[in-house]
């Protein structure tokens, strides 16, 4: 029956489609931590739109203002015209996010995708410094457009560019050598050696936790060292917080744990609150050297997303309740799965807050676990260079019961696969 129903996807949709292969059903509605398919089956969502649904699906606190806005014929598509919705969003950003953290960032609205925010950040860094090279990190993921792809690690994705990806060089991420080598030994050396063959970079772009790269977690001291290293050499530090921002790791910005202030920050995914396309680039005021219209994009004024973004900031970030609960839930996962990892050979756990990865020594097991989980009603996906990690990204609004249910389903799936 499902086969017949899906004909049109197979018939018309490009081979490039992916998730519909791993999860072969047709979804229809969603609420909170749950998705429902057209056969009425419910799925617990520990995937959260690849991190774009930190507040869950169709959260009622966001939904009603969105409905009201649309019903009242609020501006839908506004490019960068000034609108009431944008004003309210900017005010809330300033008062709820920037002011309490002592930040005075300028806000750019690029096209509404993380890749576009990254492209804008790289362009700005190059413009300001007059340099071309960007330092990225092993196993990084920053997007699929040509500029973003050049700082992305995955070989298969890179090959898709069809042209050589240049002006970017990877450096070892935290833990790349399992602690056997001093942090930044290579990076500092080549930056300070005028015959190293490395051109002086415009910027470093980093994720504080590499989600697509396999839930690799940079330590706070490593991030601080990186920030200091950049500052001392007048290299701009870009934190790509597209997946780890908006509270995924606990605090609103993932870099808060390290006490650093990046020069440039990219946000997307959960910033819109409701899963609507939106992205931001934040940067220190002295870096705001854009000419008007120098970077633009038709959908940079997706006002319905501004509405839900504003309500989300106000509702979830006026106090530290969400941060506290995220950290508590992260600890709950670490407790349950940590115990499991200790018991099952070839399995380990890593993560921060509500991004957690179950790492399998035998990479083939991770995909099997995800498949079994799906069959039992849990959505989780793999990440890592060999798809060896089962990545947990539940909504931050997941209830304790849902969290336990999900961990239970996952544990069973691991048992099942391990039992093969």
């Amino acid at each position: 029956m499902i086969t017949a129903e899906k004909t049109i996807f197979e018939e018309l949709e490009s081979n490039v489609r992916g998730y519909c292969r791993a999860w072969p059903t047709v979804f229809t509605t969603a609420k909170g931590t749950w998705l429902r398919d057209e056969d009425g089956k419910d799925y617990l969502d520990f995937f959260a739109g690849a991190g774009a649904l930190n507040y869950g699906h169709n959260h009622p606190v966001l939904k009603q203002p969105l409905l009201d806005y649309i019903a009242s014929d609020g501006i839908t598509h506004g490019l960068d015209m000034s609108t009431v919705a944008k004003r309210k969003l900017l005010e809330t950003l300033r008062d709820t996010i920037f002011a309490p953290r002592g930040l005075d960032y300028k806000v750019q609205f690029p096209g509404p995708t993380g890749a576009n925010a990254v492209e804008a950040a790289l362009k700005l860094a190059r413009k300001i410094t007059g340099r071309k090279t960007i330092l990225s990190f092993t196993n990084a993921f920053h997007g699929m457009t040509l500029g973003a792809l050049s700082v992305t690690g995955n070989a298969a994705k890179r090959a898709g560019a069809g042209v050589p990806l240049v002006h970017a060089t990877p450096m070892p991420y935290d833990g790349y050598f399992d602690g056997t080598t001093a942090d930044f030994q290579w990076m500092e050396r080549v930056l300070d050696d005028s015959s190293s063959g490395f051109d002086r970079p415009a910027a470093v772009i980093v994720e504080t936790v590499q989600g697509e790269g396999g839930v690799n977690v940079a330590r706070a001291e490593w991030l601080r060292h990186l920030a200091g290293l950049c500052a001392a050499r007048e290299i701009l530090l870009i934190v790509d917080d597209v997946q780890m921002g908006c509270g995924r790791t606990g605090p609103f910005f993932s870099f808060e744990v390290a006490g650093i202030t990046p020069d440039i920050v990219t946000l997307s995914k959960s910033i819109g609150g409701y899963g609507l396309p939106m992205a931001l680039v934040l940067f220190k005021p002295e870096l705001d050297q854009w000419a008007p219209g120098e970077h633009n994009g038709t959908f940079r004024g997706n006002n319905p997303a501004f509405v839900t973004a504003q309500v989300a900031l106000e509702h979830f970030w006026s106090d530290d309740a969400l941060q506290t609960s995220t950290l508590a839930k992260g600890e709950r996962i670490e407790q349950v799965l940590g115990r499991l990892a200790a018991e099952v050979p070839g399995v380990s756990l890593r993560g921060r807050g509500l991004v957690q990865g179950v790492v399998f020594d035998d990479p083939s097991q991770a995909s099997k676990v995800c498949q079994v989980a799906f069959e039992r009603g849990l959505l989780v996906e793999t990440s890592g260079s060999m798809d060896e990690v089962v990545k947990l990204l539940p909504p931050l609004t997941v209830s304790d019961e849902e969290l336990d249910l999900g961990l239970d389903l996952l544990s069973t799936a691991i048992d099942t696969v391990g039992g093969h």
Copy 2:
């Protein structure tokens, strides 16, 4: 008063903001061809979200299904999971758009912006052919990410890249030499001369009418010649229909006038119907050589846009009424402004369907006309390499009265500026 209200934009928003400078007010609601600012002033919109609002603002036929979908907790954010909303959209695309035109395109959902669709198209063309160079055209505009920018003409926008833009070469667009030179003399010659210094290209990317480039219109026979030239040399033909598709020039696809079938087509802007971010890449089935996930993007499953896109296709494209009225309205503009152009020295007109450009020999006049028009309640913007063209992009749903009112406001603005 406005100054005080706008403080937050000046305070927080990056210098890169543009339209809010030309139109210094704060918009709040919109309906059909009209925008309203917070002072209650109404503006007639001959700009249509830079071509993203072919069906006007918040069209009631689209609005109600959108509200219903959100209210019923339909999937909002779906990546490329199969959903009921996507199925319905694919079916409508097939039955309403492809089948009547004898097209068997495959459909890719890239990130929800035109630039992303262009990036995907270029990647696919390079992958299929194994070649790197793309031929673009003088005065082309295809987007602001690194790949899209490399095929864009504007020097200031190109400079923003901060790195050399390579693997693309411009060719003369139709009319570049005012007919003094045989069409494709240069392009055909260098393609067929193995010592020309040109590497064999993967693809040609073309707009049938260059909107940003100054409303430059390619003749049907020129497009046919181009298509033939590409076919004979196994070079892929990409029509970027992001701005000119969805009926802007009359037919759904702007290339229908030439009777050609491009290998790859990009759509965005008005495809979502309601101004919501969405984009498509269409290509011949034999070109569907993507590996699963080889190009992706978090917001490629913006299901609310799928809902409005589907309703828009069904409502506006089940018969040829819209096409007929678009052409009639285009003729109305040509009549009125053609007369004006004949009378006012230094002014001429060009366009197709509902994209029309009033060209000023003295480029400075175009901006002045737009400014005066704004003061009188009409939104129009300039385009062209010297901003010498006032570009008219009214919604296709503009009424005859609105059209006449807008042309009247514009004519008066031209008189006013000319009277200086």
Copy 3:
């Protein structure tokens, strides 16, 4: 016997070897216009070391000073140390070449090859202007290193790079459209159109006659137009005189015919006089912005070549006798072969001074003619994008009798091939 003798070449020498295939014999000595192989057979040389032997083989006026210099233990290898031999060369350059022509060029000694001179010229132009793009011309040839190759037209040679050749764009050379299109229509237009998609170039590099490209001759007025066009836009003009300089077209510099003064000039091939490796880059004094050692090369001080270069300049260029005789001999060729071209269908002639090309409508005939000529004792080679041109490059010192003999041998070969 030859087969047996040649074993070592076939056994050890790379497939990349070329001339030894067209001329399958082993040469041993040479004098003036003649080469001798080890079987004692003499060959009349209308090839002159691809233009490196304008004064013939082993000219006695150069040979004796060379022998004396070596015998007296003059410095052989001097990098850019000051030497007596270099001083004498510089003085002669100044007094014999620069002063009479009103030139105040600075002299750079790059590595001793034309490609290296071109690489240095491109680097200098980019350094001075801060721009990256170089405009080259269809059918250009400038060398085989990565920078020189990027401004070279031949597709097979370009493919050898193994990486995309970027930062260079070809423009139509004089006569590319057989006069149907105004000179520089395309080039001027794109340079002056800020939305053409062309980045402002650092320099234009041009050969006044394209030797490898098929003996394409730029008219004096075209060169003047080019020079004016560059000057008006602050684009540097580089004349690559590696093959056409040192009197090949009559005057010492091939651009003298146009009355222009290029910003940068490259010389190599015949500048050493005796066929010894040497190259020069000349540029206006205000362009001498090199830092010490910023471009270098181990063999930039090939002092034996300085000795023969100096004697050659003094002996051949103290008066205008050589220029006069070169032009006269060129006319002699035009007379004889012009008559032949008028008689034989599908054959035409073009050239300037002592570089002349016999063009065959049927490209396959040109190679056959060269082969027959070799068998009869005349060395000539093909050029052009389809090897459709038999290129005549006799030493400028060829005697009238030798010239007539060569033309006779060539005419017979053309007859023979035409008779097939």
Copy 4:
């Protein structure tokens, strides 16, 4: 007086000139290890034409055959025509160099410079593998043309390119971390991590001792590890033996010490024997995938250099006397200067065979030492990223007395400078 004499150099020669600034005199003749200036002053040469004069200046065993060849009108300039001189050279290469070492290399004659040999090697590696990236090493030097520069470390030289240098990435050379990190930890890891962001390279290019980079010596086991690492991953290994080949470190090829057989070897500098421009590329027969003429160069047939090259191979390499004496002299240097280094704080020594570097903790001292040495009649130059190394490159034919004299002069210079 010198000032007046030098006017023409200052007047005409480009600022790019270098050595003539460090050694402000005008040289006239040279013999063996000695140069003489026009004032009759003699200089002991521990520089040897930057490594191009391994057999000293104007060695009589080479000089006479060179004079005879020129006197007898042997072919001077032969491109890649077969000649008697080339045959003899190929036979000697095969019998004297290849056969005793069990090598079956093919021989390419590129343009007569090291940079050209490197450009050819990189092109070939890219052609064969279809990949683009080359791995180079920190502090490498391979030449000044665009391709060679891209694998060179020095920032100032790289900046001279004027365009971004791409398709190459540096890796840490042996000893870059003073042994604190496992060899190849970074390189092996990124090659084997499909998400490292490194594209699979075509080749690795390495110097066994980095001359320009500061006399950095790679250990034999490091070279073996590198060769194994490349072989296991089908990455071609190119040894650039331009400066270290022809016996500089003892054996003919510098890589013999490690017992490895590189896929591709570049030779230039001393290969011509007499300081005449010449270069070779050697590669395994299965890599000889060049098309005829795919890489060429006007001066690739510098036959006088073939003559001296052949005699040099025959005279110096028919037995192991030179290798033995080179190693002995190297030990003599290590003995004398090692003692000095042990006594003088801030001075150390490194090298292999007759390339030795005196390293100064205070970089400014190295230049001062060279200046004092020059004043006392010894030519030595600095190298290293901060010019902190005094590099000793005496001719291999230096006598024991000359060696002691030079070491004495150098020691005194070090004392003098240290005494400041």
